[in-house]
């Protein structure tokens, strides 16, 4: 058997089986992102594809090459037209299965075949005119070229087109008199409507109301129409017999590799459609350079895709999405993130996790440039909303979960801990946090640790301190800008005090002038 042609997998594609949603999806808001990606693409069953990150640089590169091709307008136009026509074909096929009258079902089937033949031929023609850089699309082009030049495909197209032409040329007259309907062979008779229009044309005074009724076009014809169609069939027996035979002969006409291409294409197109408005709003996406060896991480002007999508869709071009840089050089592995609440810490943590998952899917990531490690897995621990009976219960629950992460994580994992131990005392949080952090450092995994404990930021060579910031002039405005800086829990308090005239000197003068 011939190897399957795939634009998602350079080697043999994995066997189709259900893939559960990864644990990190909800925390990183990847569940929302995938939800948007599936919107308007339900028929393709794409969810498993977005849940399976790749683990080799080659596999990622295979997809990145396809994306590069698809980012070109002329390639997008070609495959976009293909996908659109295939959707149309499936609509036809659905009607060909579900309608009541055989004459109608057969016609929809015929039209589906017609659309299919045109679509495949058009795809071949447009792909052959393009310079394709990716192995994935080149494989499809070769396959479609072989398919189109096969005798069986050519015969299919010719028969379908011939039958369509004969049916479209079928004309007839209906004479309705009382309750009797007579179907008659076509003959030229004067058009009464045209004559009426001509008679009254002299009064025309510009645009007038349109009185034409809009009839509801049901897919299913009624029994009067069906009887008329029977009459038409009796007047034209040859073409209707031919139609019936055609449908029996070509039941399974869709090539399996074409069908797979149609689905796999949507994996890319859905994502490119999702990010297009964000790009239009000035946000950048880039093809990340991924590595299995170096953990050096450098991403410029990146952002939380889920948040940016919400802001841009809600606010159009006015949306202000704050971008951040992430950098881990040499032996640096852990970012300890502190700073005022609502300053963008959680957003930053999510961004870090999203970047690694999206890069491992072979897709463009938020940012103007990105160099990322290709992890074996992304682990997350975000503070849970659901109520747990006691504070102690909550603290313990967190510890269980973090423990489980440390059990399963390897040096090649990415770990995101958000506001860990936020519900306990500073002393406990520092104590436990220090311990956890030490183990993370020991593990050598890439990690973001969001905490309110400043002291954690100073734990060793591989730990980098970053802070969320506020605008010094307007401390109440959150900036979402996260910068590399030593932790300083007093900065925000001083700024907000100044704004309200409650700084030390000010307050003293106000109380005792």
């Amino acid at each position: 058997m011939e190897a399957q042609v795939s634009i998602l997998f350079d080697l043999e594609p994995p066997a189709p089986e259900p893939v559960p949603e990864p644990d990190c999806f909800a925390d990183l808001h990847l569940d929302r992102i995938v939800g948007w990606l599936l919107d308007r693409h339900e028929q393709y069953e794409l969810a498993p594809l977005y849940r399976q990150p790749l683990h080799t640089v080659e596999a990622v590169a295979y997809r990145q090459a396809v994306v590069r091709d698809l980012e070109r307008a002329e390639v997008r136009a070609a495959v976009g037209a293909f996908a659109e026509r295939m959707r149309l074909m499936r609509r036809h096929l659905r009607l060909a299965r579900t309608l009541h009258y055989a004459c109608q079902r057969q016609r929809w089937f015929l039209d589906a075949v017609g659309v299919y033949c045109e679509t495949v031929a058009a795809l071949r023609e447009s792909l052959c005119e393009l310079e394709l850089g990716s192995d994935g699309l080149r494989r499809i082009r070769d396959h479609v070229t072989r398919l189109c030049t096969s005798a069986s495909f050519e015969a299919l197209g010719e028969q379908a087109a011939g039958l369509q032409q004969q049916l479209a040329a079928t004309r007839y007259l209906i004479h309705m008199n009382g309750m009797t309907v007579r179907v008659l062979a076509h003959e030229e008779r004067p058009d009464i409507g045209g004559e009426v229009l001509e008679t009254f044309a002299k009064f025309a005074q510009g645009a007038v109301k349109d009185y034409r009724a809009r009839f509801r076009e049901r897919d299913e014809m009624n029994h009067v129409e069906a009887q008329i169609l029977d009459g038409v069939a009796q007047l034209h027996p040859g073409v209707f017999a031919e139609l019936e035979q055609f449908c029996q002969r070509h039941r399974d006409y869709v090539d399996p590799d074409v069908a797979r291409f149609d689905r796999e294409l949507q994996f890319y197109l859905a994502y490119l459609e999702l990010i297009a408005p964000l790009r239009a709003a000035g946000l950048e996406f880039c093809e990340p350079r991924v590595s299995r060896e170096s953990k050096e991480t450098r991403v410029l002007e990146t952002f939380d895709l889920a948040l940016a999508r919400q802001l841009v869709y809600a606010g159009g071009s006015d949306a202000r999405v704050v971008v951040n840089d992430i950098g881990l050089d040499g032996e640096e592995r852990v970012i300890v993130l502190t700073g005022p609440n609502n300053g963008g810490k959680t957003t930053f943590a999510r961004t870090f996790g999203q970047l690694h998952h999206l890069a491992a899917l072979g897709l463009p990531v938020p940012g103007s440039s990105a160099r990322l490690f290709l992890p074996d897995r992304v682990f997350t621990h975000f503070e849970r909303e659901e109520s747990i009976e006691t504070l102690r219960g909550k603290f313990e629950d967190e510890l269980y979960r973090i423990h489980a992460i440390l059990e399963h994580a390897t040096a090649d994992s990415v770990i995101v801990l958000n506001e860990a131990f936020g519900s306990t005392t500073l002393h406990d949080a520092e104590l436990v946090g220090t311990r956890v952090l030490e183990q993370l450092v020991e593990l050598d995994a890439l990690c973001v640790f969001v905490t309110f404990v400043d002291e954690l930021a100073g734990l060793g060579e591989t730990v980098v301190s970053m802070m969320s910031t506020v605008d010094p002039d307007e401390p109440a405005v959150r900036t979402f800008r996260v910068v590399r800086r030593a932790a300083d829990g007093l900065a925000y308090a001083a700024a907000i005090a100044h704004k309200y005239g409650l700084g030390y000197e000010t307050l003293k003068r106000r109380v005792a002038p």
């Binding site: 009607l95 004459c103 109608q104 057969q106 016609r107 929809w108 039209d111 049916l167 479209a168 040329a169 079928t170 004309r171 007839y172 007259l173 209906i174 004479h175 309705m176 008199n177 009382g178 309750m179 009797t180 309907v181 007579r182 179907v183 008659l184 076509h186 008779r189 004067p190 058009d191 009464i192 409507g193 004559e195 009426v196 229009l197 008679t199 009254f200 002299k202 009064f203 025309a204 005074q205 510009g206 007038v208 109301k209 349109d210 009185y211 034409r212 009724a213 009839f215 897919d219 014809m221 009624n222 029994h223 009067v224 129409e225 009887q227 008329i228 169609l229 009459g231 009796q234 007047l235």
Partner: protein, 505 residues
């Protein structure tokens, strides 16, 4: 079929937006009084008068086209009124015809056929009335209209209309052609004339394939009537639109006649109190013509009992007419008479004067001090400047601007300087300006710099401070007559008026 009584080459468009500044102009020239006098309670006349006067013509032939028709109408008001009344009755007649409440093509068709039948009888009456009056009419506009009605609505044509209406009752059933579309359903339903066939022949015709829907098959009957609806859909639309077309022709006819009905009404009002009217002489824009004899303010005459005094004007070749002088010396009235006459000339109407001749302006604007504004001084000046700025957005060469006490909201020096800049700029752009002002600084400086193309008029002070409504050509005087007014009202001299600050440029 086009009416073309208000334009030579197109219909009167009563939807067209009014030009910028139209509202100010209407208010400043007190056009409301004129429209009311034209309408005499007829809303259509009011609306057409309003729109026609606020959209002045600029083409000399178009003005003459309306003037000729107006002459016919003034001479034969009976012809005008008979056509206007008939058109009105025709428009009202189909309102009494109701079909079923359904808006199915079958019922639209049935209703429209009956409406058309009624309209056809009115069309015949209209044609006959036009034929009766045609011999005494002289204007190309009305002559053409009568000839068109006679020709287009002749007996043969109306007979053809009748034949259509009979056919659309479908005595022999409905024949429709169709083709197969996607899904093998019928499409492209087009109503066809049945083959000419005797009743008997039809009964024994067994060609094709036929079936009969049983009476108890409700769904089948519904399907059949939908098919009938599809069959007559286009022709129902054609007939319904024809009703609309005929009606819109009648509405256009009545609308355009309404203007002349209004003009005749206004003439009768003025003549009744002995005021003269004259058909003005329109002149080309470049000629800078502007001269009048016995020019009076029509809107003032319509509101007071006695005849109003007319004035003379000889401003041919002058770009700027500056009017200074005594308060209540008739400055504003004179300027309104001038503006109103210009507007009436460019609407194709007669004017309130013994004679009037003027170049057509590309557009008319007015900039009046808004007395009723009680805002602070600075706010008032802001408001004036912003109005002038709006005018500047819309004005162009060849336009006429009427300024009444503009920029008097601030002190004389500042106001004069602003006004001087505005006036000089606009004059140099080819705008014609009539300016009423008591800003001596402004008037005096313009008198010196614009001696060649300016006309300076002064409200003449009569003997003993009496106000004759008369303007003479004279340079601006340094004092106004405010003291007179003051004295008249207060009964004593305005103390300190002699030390009033007078600027010298």
């Amino acid at each position: 079929m086009r009416v073309h009584l208000l334009h030579t080459d197109r219909d009167f468009d009563s939807e067209l937006a009014l030009p910028a500044g139209a509202e100010d102009l209407a208010r400043d020239l007190e056009l409301e009084t004129v429209w009311q006098a034209m309408a005499q309670g007829d809303k259509l006349v009011y609306e057409v008068a309003r729109r026609a006067t606020l959209r002045p013509l600029t083409d000399l032939d178009e003005i003459r086209h309306r003037q000729a028709i107006l002459r016919d109408c003034l001479a034969h008001p009976d012809a005008l009124h008979s056509l206007y009344t008939l058109a009105g009755e025709a428009i009202a007649a189909p309102r009494g015809i109701w079909g079923s409440l359904s808006s199915s093509p079958r019922s639209i068709l049935d209703q429209s056929v009956r409406k058309l039948a009624v309209l056809a009888t009115f069309l015949a009456q209209l044609r006959d009335a036009a034929a009766e009056h045609a011999p005494k009419l002289a204007s190309p506009g009305l002559t053409r209209l009568c000839a068109m009605l006679a020709e287009e609505l002749d007996c043969a044509y109306l007979e053809r209309v009748g034949a259509h209406l009979r056919e659309l009752k479908f005595k022999d059933g409905i024949v429709v052609s169709a083709r197969l579309q996607a899904s093998n359903r019928g499409a492209g339903y087009t109503l066809r004339r049945p083959r000419e066939q005797g009743r008997l022949a039809r009964m024994f015709d067994r060609s094709g394939y036929s079936f009969t829907i049983p009476e108890r098959d409700v769904a089948g009957l519904r399907a059949l009537s939908e098919l009938e609806d599809r069959a007559v859909n286009l022709v129902a639309n054609a007939i319904a639109q024809s009703v609309d077309h005929v009606l819109s022709f009648l509405i256009a006819l009545r609308t355009e006649l309404a203007f002349y009905v209004g003009a005749v009404n206004l003439a009768q009002r003025l003549h009744a109190k002995g005021e003269p009217t004259a058909m003005p002489v329109p002149r080309a824009g470049g000629a800078q013509a502007l001269s009048a004899a016995g020019l009076y303010d029509v809107s003032l005459s319509l509101t007071v009992g006695p005849r109003v005094v007319g004035g003379e004007l000889a401003a041919d070749g002058r770009r700027l007419v500056m009017i200074t002088g005594a308060n209540q010396g008739g400055k504003s009235t004179f300027m309104r008479a001038l503006g109103l006459s210009q507007l009436m000339l460019q609407s194709g109407l007669f004017v309130g004067a013994e004679s009037f001749s003027a170049s057509v302006a590309t557009a008319l604007f007015s900039h009046y001090k808004r007395e009723e504004d009680t805002a602070l001084r600075s706010g008032k000046l802001d408001e004036e400047l912003s109005r002038m700025s709006a005018i500047a957005d819309a004005i162009g060469p060849g336009a006429l601007l009427l300024c009444n006490e503009s920029f008097a909201a601030t002190n004389e020096r500042e106001g004069s300087e602003i006004a001087r800049q505005v006036v000089n700029a606009l004059l140099d752009c080819g705008v014609r300006i009539v300016f009423v002002t008591h800003l001596f600084d402004l008037a005096d400086s313009l008198h010196r710099s614009r001696a060649a193309d300016g006309l300076f008029l002064r409200a003449e002070r009569g003997a003993d401070g009496e106000r004759p409504y008369k303007l003479i050509e004279a340079p601006p005087l340094q004092t106004s007559y405010g003291a007179d007014s003051y004295r008249k009202v207060f009964g004593h001299d305005p103390v300190g008026s002699s030390v009033r600050w007078h600027p010298h440029s």
